[in-house]
Each structure stands twice: as C-alpha cells, then as structure tokens.
Symmetry: C2
Subunit: 218 residues, 2 copies
C-alpha cells in the first residue's frame, strides 16, 4: 500500500492561488518517493488576479475548480477529507495559501482560517501525522497550530513574516532556499521555495528534500 | 551566455490550455540544463473548460493571460518573438496546443495554425534550430512543417492521431512514455508525456530526456 499524502491546493497561480511550480514539484516528489498524492482544496471563492498585468481583475473564481487544473481533475473538496485517510499532508505555497486558505496575508498572527483547512490540520497534528509546508504556507501552519504546539517553521528569511509567525506562538527559523527546517517534535517540515528562489531548480531542490522528509516520517 | 529556449504556452490547464505538469517539468529541465526559458503565448481567446466538472463553462479566457500563471508573469506575446532571439523552441502539450495554437483537435491534418505560431515555427525550421514537442504538440509541428520537411514525430501510440499526423506529410513513430523520438535531420524531438503517462514521474522522465536532447542539439 502506498502512503497517501494530502496536497492542499488554494487555486492555480502564484498571485491568487497555489504557486504552480511548487504544487507540481510536490506532486512529482510524492510520486518519485512511491507515495500517492491526494489533492484537495476548499470549495470557496477567490479574487482573480491577472498574472500578466499583476493586477486584480475584479472577478471571482472558485478555489476548488481552479485547483483542479493543477490536479488534472483528480481532486476532492477538502470538506470531505478526514485525517484518518491520510499518512501526511503537504501545503504548497502561493498567495492562495495566505489569502484563500486563511487571511494571514492581511491579518498576520490574527488570521482567520478556512474552517475545513483548520479542522484537517488540527486532526493531523493531534494524530501526530507529518505536515509539510512550502513557501508562505508555514505561516498558515503557524496560525493554526502556534498556540497549542509552538511549531518551528521557516519561510526563508523575511523579517516581517518571521515577526508575524513568532506572534502566533510559533518560532521562525531562517533557512536557505535549497534547505529545509524539520521540527521533529511536531513532525512539521518546511522549506522556503519561492519565498527565496531565484529560479525553479532552487525551489525544486528544497521541495524535493522537504517532501522526502515528510514521506520518510509518515 | 545561457542558451535561450523558447517555451510556447497555450493557456493554463490540460483541457483548455497547456498541460501544467508538462509545462513546469519543461521549465525545470531547461533550468537544470543551465539554459534559460523564454516563455511566450499568443494573445487570443480560449474557450474555458471547468477542470473539476470536465465541461465547457461557456466563458472565454485569454491564452496569454492564463499562460502567465505558469510563467509567474514572466511571459511575452509570441507576436513579438523572432527566431534569431532563440537557440531552440519547445511546445508543451495539453489540449491548448491542439485547440488554441491550432485547430488540429477538430480539423486534423487540415488544421489552421495561429499565425504567429506558424511564423515562428517556420523561422526556427528554416534556421535549423532544434524544436521540441511534448504530448499532443507534435501534431502542431506536423501540421505546420509536414509538407516541407516531412518530420518524424511521436505522440505515443494513438492510432487516430498517427493517421492524421501522417496525412500532413509527416511520419508518426510509436514511442513508449519514458522515451523520445529524435528526427536528427530536422532536429525535432518529441515525447508522449500525458498522451500515455499514468503518473507524473512517467511524463517527467520523457520530458527530461527530450528537453536535454533539444538543448544538447542547440
């Protein structure tokens, strides 16, 4: 039986959803480590950003429907996913992790969390199942689990984000782009990816190490 | 100076644009081979497909704007790209390659080609610069270059597509998913990827080999 690794997507595109490279590299690393990806996303609206202009369009899209692009249609509503189906869970980055799955991007440590994302993350932590978080997604983990678990995570070396993460009760550690931070006690793995990466191969190296660490722990 | 490899995108999502995994794996392989990706797409409409439902929505999107999601905003209108800027060019697959860049999906060998795509491909062929094509994209190459160059290409082993490709004056060769077909005379490299792949690592292996072959030839 392959290990089942949840991959929580937040749309399709770095500015309003999941960072596409990070999500695909996560899926590749899961497959290459002989595990099975279980893609999921919340059924909710997102505010569309034109990725050519870098500006909001004023239109809305659906997080689950857009995430299905990355998953080639093979995706579930996170509302129906329980921790006992999964051996581990991984959150790719992109602004969607901080704007759709929660509102950390605007609220920092006081972020509200999408209810099913919060529930599943708390279930995974309570079951001591490994959690991976890439790019800005460690901020989501910090906002959900900070008070109870005081996890150690990284988003690279962004000082403002580090302050907000520390304010959740979590601890931010600086980390180079090709490396990862492992909180062994809480079984939480994080890597900076495009918070620092200047090119896709830099992001890939950290993601490959982080996904392998999550799967080895599972 | 890094070799400059054009990557022609056709939207963002397997059913109405570029196959996202194939596009990202192409960008990764280019970077890991110490070359530079030059992403481009035509500024034109596409018919939106809901990737969760697998159905048309009736709405339209813009190919260049959607492709910018995969390129993280770093993308050019193909109308402004000339062959003398590039050392090679690669076309990832996805239905967008056969529905947006041309209408091979509905017209087969009689396909019309988006004018700038046709122009740039013909410029590259005339300059004997390497051309890579992934998944269904070799059908586009066949439709543009078949009469003049009679290229040998693969989309895997789909009999109907092979007949249509042969009808362009090109020659289809069957090929396993992890392998590639190299037409040395015309410097055209193709690999089946998701025309055959059952998982992302299968697609990745063929794409890594094909991109490396294109860059080595350039």
């Amino acid at each position: 039986m392959k290990k089942k690794i949840g991959v929580v997507l937040s749309g399709c595109g770095v500015y309003d959803g999941s960072e596409i490279h990070e999500a695909v590299l996560t899926l590749l690393a899961i497959d290459r480590n002989s595990a099975e990806a279980v893609c999921m996303a919340p059924d909710m609206e997102l505010l569309e950003i034109d990725h050519l202009a870098g500006q909001p369009t004023g239109a809305k899209r659906n997080v689950l429907v857009e995430s299905a692009r990355i998953a080639r249609g093979n995706i579930r509503d996170i509302a129906g996913v329980k921790a006992d189906e999964l051996d581990a869970i991984i959150f790719p980055g992109g602004f969607g992790a901080a704007k759709n799955l929660c509102d950390f991007a605007s609220k920092g440590a006081d972020a509200s969390i999408q209810p099913d994302v919060a529930r599943l993350l708390k279930e995974m932590a309570a079951a001591q199942k490994p959690i991976g978080a890439i790019c800005i997604a460690p901020a989501l983990i910090a906002a959900v689990l900070g008070k109870e678990y005081a996890p150690e995570v990284t988003v690279g070396n962004d000082a403002g984000t580090a302050v907000a993460i520390n304010a959740t009760g979590s601890r931010h550690l600086n980390c180079p782009v090709r490396e990862l931070v492992i909180d062994s006690k809480n079984r939480i793995v994080s890597t900076p990816a495009y918070m620092l990466a200047g090119c896709i191969s830099e992001a890939a190296e950290g993601i490959e190490k982080a996904v392998k660490a999550v799967i080895d722990m599972a």
